[in-house]
Symmetry: C2
Subunit: 219 residues, 2 copies
């Protein structure tokens, strides 16, 4: 925890997002990992979004985080803000950069997977899926496994991506693979370290109950 | 400056990027704004990149920042790391989030402009240009002008995006509009505050000489 910048414990947090995981789920996981109360405001009606809420949002998109009523846009900015606030973003500036490097890398993967989600032509969709399996996933597996192994060498096999405890980096990897694993369940088969890492998050004492009971959504 | 995490003044920085502005220019501007020495390693030969350098880069892409030999990937991670190191990323966690919100917003604009850059079909390219002018630029102008005005109200008309001095947010806005202004020179015509902000960066005592004399590149 960084005492000098941490909001007081009476801070009122409200996360406004649609009723899917999408770009709202990593912030939700951060709140649960840190055991910090927040209002999980899930907008589940198009009418509510288009007719009343959208115009009040600074960039006319979600997620938006409200901190004592002050609004913050941009999902990754929200993730990093909360992670710093909750002591889940590394202990030094360099560790923080290591965390952010993983998060930005997972955002690159998300963009690749989004091509599959938004493609309507079934032939092209199959081509994208094939490319994900043969090129994209292996590339990201290689990057992540290298980072995980280097950190394990430096930190007594903590099993986390940065330093010796859970950070935003771990939550980002966990969440970003949730959708790919739902369409390609076997992709971790030859990647024991990534399997073990995923299991570590799913059984985390602060996260296990939330992950088990959270609303099931396709994305 | 955050004394507890700042690298010592003998830190050796090397920024490896291609010989264009691209995703390397905001880091370069940060070094100049902070008056910190760095090696501006501009890879200007495809042979050097493909035959020797690429394999040594953690994610096989550039930019990469080396800090005393340790490598950091992901351009926005590099920007934020340097900005924190140099005291150009806000004074509190909330100010840092304000800075990052602007940076992520400018990355959204960059992605929109990239569609024009990479489109080869001339008819489609014209359509994208038309959409940039009628929809995209105005949307981002609105977001930026709102942030600039709110900060001016809170900070005695500093003229910067966050707080009372130059931050990464200002450099991000400045650099991200350099290319759009080169293809659409009139877009700031009705946006006096953005003109003035741009002028403020171009005449900054630490930046003016670099910006005036830096290599001219199309992107």
């Amino acid at each position: 925890m960084n005492g000098s910048v941490k909001e007081s414990s009476s801070t009122k947090y409200r996360l406004i997002y649609f009723d899917v995981r999408g770009r709202g789920e990593i912030p939700r996981l951060l709140f649960h990992a840190a055991k910090v109360d927040f209002t999980d405001d899930r907008v589940d009606s198009e009418e509510k979004w288009y007719n009343s809420l959208k115009a009040k949002m600074p960039q006319k998109v979600l997620p938006v985080l409200e901190v004592d009523g002050k609004q913050l846009s941009q999902s990754l900015t929200i993730c990093r803000y909360l992670a710093r606030e909750f002591g889940l973003c590394g202990k030094t500036n360099w560790e923080q950069a290591q965390v952010e490097q993983v998060v930005d890398t997972m955002d690159d993967l998300r963009a690749e997977v989004a091509k599959w989600i938004y493609e309507k032509d079934t032939v092209k969709k199959d081509e994208i899926a094939s490319n994900l399996r043969s090129e994209i996933y292996p590339k990201f597996f290689g990057i992540l496994e290298t980072i995980l192994r280097e950190n394990e060498e430096n930190n007594n096999r903590s099993g986390y991506f940065v330093g010796d405890h859970l950070t935003l980096a771990d939550l980002s990897v966990f969440e970003t693979f949730t959708f790919p694993l739902s369409i390609h369940p076997d992709i971790f088969d030859d990647h024991l370290e990534l399997q073990e890492h995923r299991q570590r998050i799913m059984t985390d004492k602060h996260l296990a109950e939330y992950i088990k009971n959270r609303p099931e959504r396709p994305v």
